[in-house]
């Protein structure tokens, strides 16, 4: 499904601010796999996600999705394969546009856009049904501006938008980090539901160790631009936060994990 080979990303190359964010990351994701990615600040998890999404080019290495090399494709052309939810609830939706307009924009992800009407009546009915399932009362507010919604509502909407047209790969970039604990739990639960229902190949970056352990069928831990822990199957299911921390200290020779990773 997703194949990343020796991906290197260096910011501010050749200046005193040079920062190597990814030091040759290789990663293979199987179809339908749900991976949670964890790591401290500056470990490179968000950079990895952005590199896969094509927000910026990589310095070396290759990225392919479904056996198609996308390394040189700009962000907007990779969007065909990728659904995304961002950390900032403001980032995934257009605030001055209506809920149904936002959904309609997302329903045409990667499609050729023409001079047909932007939102059709049949779509509207479909959106109403899907919004009803979110259980946030949005089904009766199709023509409300998204800017009027709360952060949690916007994040739930972005999640729905990302999956409206089934993506080959779903990228969740700390998408619950900016929400209060109760809303975060609800959005996470909704993510889990949508992922299983559509059997989506997913990468979920999180700061929260509990979430990473509780969700997904594989766990990756990043440190200093590299993947240092990669567990799946039985091992992942039986993993505890304590084990993860111990392993992290053993591998990195540092105890910064305590401060950097939230046990939630």
């Amino acid at each position: 499904m997703l194949d990343a080979k020796d991906v290197v990303k260096i910011f501010n190359h050749g200046t005193i601010n040079e920062k190597t964010a990814l030091r040759g990351v290789s990663l293979h994701l199987k179809e339908g796999e749900f991976v949670s990615v964890i790591g401290g600040n500056g470990a490179g998890k968000s950079t990895l996600l952005s590199a896969i999404a094509g927000v910026y080019g990589v310095d070396s290495g290759n990225i392919s999705i479904d056996d198609r090399d996308v390394t040189r494709l700009p962000e907007h052309r990779r969007a065909k394969y990728i659904g995304r939810v961002f950390q900032d609830p403001m980032m995934g939706t257009a605030a001055n546009m209506e809920i149904e307009e936002n959904l309609a924009l997302a329903a045409r992800r990667g499609q050729l856009r023409g001079l047909k009407w932007g939102v059709t009546a049949s779509e509207r009915a479909e959106y109403r049904d899907k919004l009803r399932r979110l259980d946030l009362g949005l089904e009766n507010r199709l023509t409300s501006k998204v800017g009027l919604l709360s952060g949690g509502q916007r994040q739930a909407l972005t999640l729905l938008m990302a999956t409206l047209r089934k993506p080959k790969l779903l990228l969740l970039d700390e998408h619950t980090a900016a929400l209060d604990p109760k809303t975060a739990a609800k959005v996470l639960e909704l993510s889990e539901e949508l992922i299983h229902e559509n059997n989506l190949t997913t990468m979920m970056v999180t700061h929260n160790m509990r979430d990473a352990i509780a969700h997904g069928d594989r766990l990756i831990m990043m440190y200093d631009g590299k993947i240092i822990i990669d567990v799946e199957g039985e091992t992942k299911r039986n993993l505890t936060a304590k084990q993860l921390l111990d392993k992290f200290e053993e591998l990195s020779g540092s105890s910064e994990a305590d401060g950097n990773l939230l046990l939630g």
Partner: protein, 346 residues
């Protein structure tokens, strides 16, 4: 922009219309002239609306494009082309100017403001080339304009009512009809376009480029498209204005962006921004209101040389209005808040 208004915009529109009619009966020539100009400049204001509000870019190309459209039309009409063709060519010229600014901004990564300034500076020379001189009169050539056929058709009217014609009640009728006609057609086309899939993507680009890129839209193309449509309208307006005032002048675009913004803000504040359709209408009404205000302040003794200073001050005031409202509200709130026990006196 969202504004909470206690007065329904329909009432404001009615009051404004009544005021306009009263003013018109008092000084028909001045008011009909102002309304004509307002309607024709209203086409330009729609262009400014597309860049400033929809794309969220302050596009200064406008200052050059309006003269570019006027110059193209003046040159073509004086060399014997049909006024309609000349006006269409001016639209095409505007599209091109927008394309240049768009490429400078998106492909060459020059900041939008500077891209506009570069295009408008280049257009100055191009406009001189097009006209071959700084000022090109249309009148001495006895040439026709897009208004001529209507003027001819309305001729019998002034013969039937010579009294009305003498007092000026029939002046400017043809330009008002052409202006309203063009605005209706352009308004409908814009409303349609911004409702389509591409149009929605253009709006989203101005609102949140990150979001729409993640939905697979090339934001550079959308920005170029928006700038082209905007400047096309401005060029078209320039051609009509030149034909209305019967000349094209190299300096006629000077200050047009401020006129555009003034009209835009007056329209939004007075007539509301409830929906996209409502905003389009508000913006056009704002352009007319702006011209009527200018005509009145000149009538009541403002030196025409001081006009630009007056306009700049008005726009500054209008742009800061939202902040001042917020400030006033916090002040009022803090005054109303009952003092808690234990809080020091004043």
């Amino acid at each position: 922009m969202k504004r909470k208004s206690t007065i329904p915009s329909i009432t404001v529109k009615f009051v404004a219309l009544a005021a306009l009619v009263i003013l018109w009966t008092q000084m028909p020539t001045i008011i009909s002239g102002a309304v004509s100009l307002g309607l024709l400049w209203g086409i330009m204001v729609l262009g400014v609306f597309i860049t400033y509000r929809v794309l969220d870019i302050a596009d200064l190309t406008v200052e050059g494009t309006i003269t570019f459209g006027a110059s193209i039309a003046a040159q073509m009409i004086t060399s014997g082309q049909s006024p309609a063709l000349a006006t269409a060519a001016a639209f095409g010229g505007g599209l091109l100017a927008g394309l240049v600014t768009g490429i400078l901004h998106t492909k060459l990564r020059i900041p939008a403001l500077l891209s506009g300034i570069l295009t408008l500076t280049g257009l100055y020379s191009i406009n001189l080339r097009v006209m071959g001189r700084p000022n090109m009169p249309l009148l001495p050539f006895k040439v026709s304009s897009v208004f001529t056929p209507l003027n001819d058709a309305l001729e019998p009217l002034s013969r039937t009512f010579p009294e009305l014609a003498k007092k000026g009640y029939l002046s400017g009728l043809s330009s008002v009809i052409v202006g309203v006609g063009c605005l209706i057609v352009i308004g409908i086309l814009l409303y349609w376009f911004f409702g389509t899939e591409i149009g929605s993507a253009v709006r989203a680009t101005g609102n949140n480029p990150n979001m729409i890129r993640a939905q697979g839209v090339n934001t550079s193309v959308m920005i170029i498209l928006g700038l082209m449509i905007s400047n096309g309208l401005v060029g078209f307006a320039g051609a009509l204005i030149a034909q209305y005032q019967t000349f094209s002048d190299i300096n006629m675009g000077q200050g047009s962006i401020v006129i555009g913004l003034a009209s835009l803000i007056i329209g939004e504040v007075l007539f509301g921004t409830r929906s996209f359709r409502n905003t389009l209408i508000s913006v056009i009404l704002g352009a007319v209101t702006y011209r009527v205000i200018i005509a009145l302040v000149i009538k009541f003794g403002l030196n025409a040389n001081d006009l630009k200073l007056f306009v700049a001050a008005t726009v500054t005031f209008a742009l800061t209005l939202p902040q001042m409202q917020t400030y006033a509200r916090t002040v009022i709130k803090s005054l109303k808040r009952p003092r808690k026990a234990g809080e020091p006196n004043a």
